[in-house]
Symmetry: C2
Amino acid sequence: MELLQKKIVEEGIALSETVLKVDRFLNHQIDPQLMSEIGKEFATRYQDEKVTKIVTLESSGIAPAVMTGLVMGVPVVFARKKKSLTLTEGLITSSVYSYTKQETTDISMSNKFVDQTDRVLVIDDFLANGQAALALIDLIDKAGAEVAGIGIVIEKAFQDGGMLLREKGYRVDSLARIASLNNQTIQFATEEETIR
Amino acid sequence: MELLQKKIVEEGIALSETVLKVDRFLNHQIDPQLMSEIGKEFATRYQDEKVTKIVTLESSGIAPAVMTGLVMGVPVVFARKKKSLTLTEGLITSSVYSYTKQETTDISMSNKFVDQTDRVLVIDDFLANGQAALALIDLIDKAGAEVAGIGIVIEKAFQDGGMLLREKGYRVDSLARIASLNNQTIQFATEEETIR
């Protein structure tokens, strides 16, 4: 998605060889127009997939997910991150290990909003090693629903999450794929290119 | 806002005399169409207020804020909730005391995205005792920006946050005002009505 790549080049910062800072338009400050275009793009790509629901993870997934839900005309459910769950009645939970933070976070979703009649599009802001996406898929599995695909705003194609998900047979659509952040330079991969 | 009141009547649950559960369309599952209408409503109300930026609080404020930002053509910044702040460089922080949870949460925002040239519309999902809104206003004050007003999706008009903010001279626009949740019945107040 050209508009997104342009934005990443102009406003993204390669903080290290693995960290891309995009807090100017996605993670802290949000560009609503860009999110709207992202929503249209996901909706177009998944228009024949009979999607009935979108599931994302708070907080940075919410904006692209809601814009996609608006175009597709389906509800959005955001899974919550919690370290300790006191309210567990009717909650489906899973765990995400963060390599960056070196900690495990529980994520949870009510069993009221996703069920075996649903085909779910997962939306998230980043795909790195795939732990968050796998935990969202686990929630959807536990709810008895089907995964229609995984829509990612920015994939770090030099990490193995994308490969992991595609090898498991999931459809993954990443609107921008980063091949490398070496030497403070952001290099993109094509949609098909395998980096690792 | 009639559409919102209808949704609250049909899908909201008065869990107690103070707790209104709206996780079917606002807090956990999100209705993107309703959020879009809410965005249009806030944008119409604040069209002459020279708003340059929207500030909200993660996570439930993000959807209505982004939809408002889309119509108004301005960026959205969401303040983050954190219990301990390790990364403090360039961060503006404030504290929110939650009467429900009986705990204090720090919220924070980068000093890069809001400055003295900005007129800020604060958007949040709920207004009860006003602690979250006051903390957001505090962040905006510390950033040197002006508050154009506070746009609230649902105000619990039987709690004193609305009165507190209006007495301080802030413009508050609540799209639905709850007068009472007694006897598991949701009763609405008009925009002007003072409940307490």
